[in-house]
């Protein structure tokens, strides 16, 4: 088995909610509530979930851009949740992130050359002409060139901006790259280019990705392993092919069957249309958090929270009734 690069253990992030006259803490939004998984070196772990499921908070907490409430993150053998501020800053060169919106993640008053060179300046004190060669090298790597050096972000298209963001993340040659919905703000034809670029860079440099998306087709294309998140928890984790061929959690099934398929012949497939919407993480439902929307919920589901357990072949699921639920053909399995 490949070497483990990232291990997340029982990670939690609770945001206090204040209210009332005295501004007291009246409750907690449990954005991430006990998440554990591991990522092997050189692979992509895809994290999929709908808005408000906590995936964005989760990845920020993993990188400690947000301080975790509890739990540990082991990166390359180092517990980064225990690092002090200075040590953490030095550690950052090994783990980088590309954000969703390339329109807001690049400083509007900095030129491409400055943006991409900044990590070098911070970690090695190298800048200006000295950094130029390296900046150009990495820009070419992501499909940009010399003519983009002097541009400001607003002079670039969305796809070009995202390439700049990728270049900034790659210039320190990190081992681990978090991709937080990197193509969600882009059109499909641009998205295709960025996805292909990311795959190419991964195989060239043996990068390890944590790829977050709400788009299941994109997750399917990019990932080796997939984790499905619902309301702050992972409900199912499995190798990609296994998850798409044999989803066990009812939420995963519903999610896969709700994906609009660009093929009208797929309309006749059997679909699970869930009722209602994702409940508020401020007051998550008792027992299994999915039970109010689950067509198969039982008394047990209402009272006891299921654990994420391995059901064989690296396939984990958090559901009391996974063995009884009828399987669905998701149309997503590779044919």
């Amino acid at each position: 088995m490949a070497r483990e690069l990232v291990r997340v253990e029982e990670l939690r992030k609770y945001f206090p909610v204040r209210g009332g006259v005295f501004h007291r803490v009246v409750g907690y939004v449990k954005a991430v509530d006990g998440v554990s998984f591991r990522i092997e070196e050189g692979t992509t772990f895809g994290l999929v979930g709908e808005s408000g499921c906590g995936k964005t908070t989760l990845v920020r907490t993993i990188l400690r851009l947000i301080e975790p409430t509890a739990g540990r993150v082991i990166f390359d053998g180092v517990d980064i949740t225990a690092l002090r501020a200075g040590e953490l800053r030095r550690m950052r060169r090994h783990m980088q992130i590309v954000f969703q919106d390339p329109y807001t993640s690049l400083h509007p008053r900095m030129q491409v050359s400055e943006i991409v060179a900044e990590p070098l300046r911070i970690h090695f004190g190298v800048g200006g002409e000295e950094a130029r060669g390296e900046v150009l090298r990495v820009l070419r790597e992501v499909g940009l060139g010399e003519e983009h050096l002097d541009r400001y972000p607003h002079e670039l298209s969305g796809g070009q901006r995202q390439r700049v963001a990728i270049a900034r993340a790659l210039i320190l040659r990190p081992k681990f790259l978090v991709l937080d919905e990197p193509t969600s703000a882009l059109d499909v034809s641009v998205q295709a280019k960025i996805l292909r670029l990311l795959k190419e860079l991964q195989s060239r440099y043996g990068l390890t990705y944590l790829f977050v998306s709400h788009n299941i087709l994109v997750i399917e294309y990019m990932s080796d392993y997939v984790g499905v998140m619902y309301l702050g928890k992972l409900v199912e984790v499995a190798p990609k092919d296994e998850l798409f061929k044999n989803p066990l959690h009812p939420y995963t099934m519903a999610l896969l069957s709700a994906v609009p398929i660009p093929d009208p012949r797929a309309r006749s497939r059997k679909r699970i249309i869930l009722k209602g919407e994702v409940p508020s993480p401020l007051n998550p439902p008792s027992g299994c958090r999915f039970h109010p929307r689950c067509p198969w919920a039982s008394e047990e589901c209402r009272s006891y929270e299921p654990e994420l357990v391995e059901v064989g072949g690296e396939h984990y699921v958090a559901c009391h009734r996974w063995e009884e639920i009828p399987r669905v053909n998701t149309y997503m399995a590779r044919r």
């Binding site: 295709a192 709400h214 709700a258 609009p260």
Partner: protein, 319 residues
């Protein structure tokens, strides 16, 4: 075939901006038959929304309709007075948007806004309220008697979109224009809303012009599909035909750019051109893998290659 409900003919729209004239629409041709769901598909800036707003005559002041006709039941909407147009909006053609919450007034209750929509067209009192309640029930909102007293911010995204759909269908319009109505929603909620729109319009025999950037959504919902690129409808046809055998190189590229299990992902070369200074001839020619000499000079017309199957490309003889 009888004449379609809506027919857009050779529509050219320009926007006058600080940077120059944006040639947003360049001869759009489009038709929607009675009871039909037609998807208008394209990427950002392709002109989908401008087309919709031109039909509704809701374009901004800096826009000019240079040429073209919008025939609705045979009448050219572009020649109606503002007063006549107001009677058509809401009653005969209504519209729903991507952000349902910004389309609702935050300081008025849901019920008030729905009844106001009816009153604008002369229906008032108990009968109006009854109509509102039954419509809310039909769009699948539980407990409509309480819902009418709530404010938009108390609704979730999916509920707000249901309210918008209820409002849009209250007057039983002949045409519903839906501008990316599910793009801001999660997939599980999107599936609910798509199913709702489909079943409601079939039941009420309403035609739909469904605008989306998502080919998957278009494949799920439509009878016919029209693909737009840089202000031009490049291909139009039955949804099965277009997805099975796309004719225009852009449609082919777009379909190949969607990640799908077990298929290679292909990208379209180059970037969407600026409409301040669009390419000559066929606007797709700089990115087209099958480009010919003629494409750089002559703009291809939208021609019918098979009954109901239209394409604007020189590969298919659009001289």
């Amino acid at each position: 075939m009888s004449s379609p409900l809506l027919e857009v003919r050779d529509l050219i729209v320009h926007f006058y901006t600080r940077e120059g004239v944006v040639k947003a629409l360049d001869g759009v041709m489009l038709s929607v038959g009675r009871g039909e769901i037609v998807s208008l598909v394209g990427e950002t800036g392709s002109g989908k929304t401008v087309t919709a707003l031109s039909i509704m005559r809701l374009l901004d002041h800096n826009a000019r309709i240079v040429r073209g006709e919008v025939l609705f039941e045979g009448r050219n909407l572009l020649q109606l007075s503002e007063e006549e147009m107001r009677r058509i909006r809401g009653r005969e053609i209504s519209m729903i948007f991507q952000e349902p919450k910004s389309a609702l007034n935050p300081v008025l209750t849901v019920g008030f806004q729905l009844r106001e929509a009816l009153e604008a067209h002369g229906e008032e009192g108990e009968a109006a309220l009854e109509k509102v309640l039954s419509m809310l029930r039909r769009v699948g909102l539980p407990d409509p008697e309480r819902l009418v007293n709530r404010y938009p911010h108390e609704l979730s995204g999916g509920m707000a979109q249901r309210v918008m759909i209820a409002m849009a269908l209250l007057m039983r319009p002949k045409l519903l224009i839906a501008d990316e109505p599910t793009s801001a929603l999660d997939v599980t909620v999107q599936a609910q809303i798509l199913e709702l729109i489909q079943s409601l319009v079939r039941e009420m025999n309403t035609s739909v012009l469904f605008i989306t950037h998502d080919l998957g959504v278009a494949a799920e919902i439509s009878d016919r599909i029209a693909v737009m690129y840089a202000g031009v409808v490049v291909e139009q046809g039955n949804v099965y035909d277009v997805f099975e055998e796309p004719l225009h190189p852009y449609t082919r590229g777009l379909l190949a750019a969607i990640p799908r299990p077990g298929r290679e992902l292909m990208a379209i070369e180059g970037e969407v051109p600026s409409l301040l200074n669009p390419p000559s001839g066929c606007r797709f020619h700089p990115r087209c893998p099958a480009v010919m000499e003629v494409c750089k000079r002559v703009k291809p017309r939208l021609v019918e290659v098979e009954p109901g199957r239209l394409v604007a490309c020189h590969l298919y003889g659009g001289e």
